[in-house]
């Protein structure tokens, strides 16, 4: 466990906001998911969530998976074999040349911080703000912190504009 995580967890325990339970019990009871704090600096989130390292290949799978990121529902991306790509949002080929990693992270975590009227869901918005959430999603962000970092890592590899992609 990372030091920063330990600090956050122990702070929460001291504040009486979190009861530490063994992981197996937590998984069975559907207890509150740990929510990593994040902060915006210079139009981005500089620090990786929970200090985690993303894996671009896992991120690529999350981007495609309709029950996970489903990013292709709204964005065109240079992924071969994925024919049905939406256009509600901007195309993401070359996004890593337009945005820093921190900028990409902020847009995945909560695009509404950038554009309040956006249709894009906040994949790591504070779940306490949600309204009429079914129990199985209650207290949970859409992505885990690791999934956010995986998708950030994948999008950071998109350095070529669409015209140059094969």
């Amino acid at each position: 466990m990372h030091r920063i995580q330990v600090v956050i967890l122990s702070t929460l325990v001291q504040a009486g906001l979190l009861t530490l339970v063994p992981p197996s019990v937590a998984a069975d009871s559907g207890a509150q998911q740990h929510y990593a704090e994040w902060a915006i600096h210079n139009n981005g989130i500089t620090a990786p969530l929970d200090g985690l390292t993303g894996d671009p290949e896992r991120g690529r799978q999350l981007v495609i998976d309709r029950r996970k990121g489903n990013c292709l529902a709204c964005h065109r991306m240079p992924i071969e074999g994925e024919d049905f790509q939406g256009n509600l949002g901007p195309p993401l080929a070359g996004v890593a040349t337009r945005l820093s990693g921190a900028g990409i992270r902020l847009r995945i975590v909560d695009q509404r911080q950038v554009n309040p009227g956006t249709v894009m869901p906040g994949y790591y918005r504070d779940p306490a703000r949600f309204h009429r959430v079914p129990e199985k999603f209650s207290g949970k962000t859409y992505f885990t912190a690791q999934e956010v970092e995986d998708v950030v890592a994948y999008l950071n590899t998109l350095k070529q504009e669409a015209g140059n992609e094969k």
Partner: protein, 256 residues
């Protein structure tokens, strides 16, 4: 009374102006269909929703527990029903002091006039009867009068339309006002108009009522849906139907 009428008209005008700030003129979901799906809707022999209309015609003529059928009041060919009045639903029910959807109007007759046990709100019989009756008004212009007692329900429905729900924290307008005509995966988003309901859904392979369709959107938001027939969905229906005033009824529409 005269004063109240004027106030209602003024309020409706204000609601119209505030709603029209960035609203597109209403367009039927038909406008966003592929040519193949349009052809399927246009041909009654090809349109799979016509099965439900025909089932509804049978139920319309079927004797209820007290021996009467819908045809007892509305004539054998349903010529006793006025298509222009069908196009005005939902209307306000003075006796119950709440909006009355076409579905509820039919369900009330089913139990009240025919003496039958209640029809499940989203059951196949209720859908079939609604399909049959709405199909009688195909081509009629949707004409919901929300200037009077329906106005507060219109406003409540409008509020729901703009409220974010669920883990996706999503509201109806984000797709259906802001992105109609754009691709969500392989499909074009529509304005979410209600003039074709009940509609045949190609993705589901069945005829679907409006409240079931709205429920599917709430599930996509990862939100707890409001139950079919609930006050919330009826208010939303009032708002959506009035928002589509001027569109022609297409029941049974074919949609993705």
């Amino acid at each position: 009374m005269k004063n109240r009428g004027w106030t209602g008209t003024l309020l409706a005008l204000l609601a119209f102006i505030s709603g029209a700030v960035h609203a597109e003129p209403p367009r039927s979901g038909y406008a966003y269909l592929t040519p193949e799906s349009r052809a399927m809707q246009d041909d009654d022999f090809e349109n799979p929703g016509m099965v439900s209309v025909e089932q509804g015609a049978v139920l319309f003529a079927a004797a209820g527990e007290n021996g009467k059928s819908c045809t007892s009041c509305h004539a054998g060919d349903a010529s006793g029903l006025d298509p222009a009045r069908i196009a005005r639903y939902p209307v306000y029910n003075d006796a119950e002091q709440r909006p009355l959807t076409l579905r509820d109007r039919i369900r009330n007759c089913w139990t009240g006039a025919l003496g039958n046990p209640p029809l499940a709100y989203t059951g196949p019989q209720a859908i079939a009867l609604e399909s049959f009756v709405r199909n009688l008004a195909r081509g009629q212009v949707v004409n919901v009068d929300f200037s009077g007692p329906l106005l507060s329900h219109y406003e409540a429905g409008k509020k729901l339309y703009y409220t974010r729900f669920g883990q996706l924290d999503m509201s109806c307008n984000l797709c259906h006002d802001d992105h109609a005509g754009q691709h969500l995966r392989g499909q074009l988003l529509s304005q979410g108009q209600t003039n074709g309901f009940p509609e045949y859904r190609l993705a589901k392979g069945n005829i679907t009522g409006l409240h079931q369709r709205m429920k599917q959107c709430f599930v996509k938001f990862r939100a707890v849906p409001f139950p079919a027939g609930s006050d919330e969905l009826i208010d939303l229906e009032v708002f959506l139907a009035a928002r589509g005033n001027g569109l022609k009824i297409e029941t049974p529409a074919v949609r993705f």
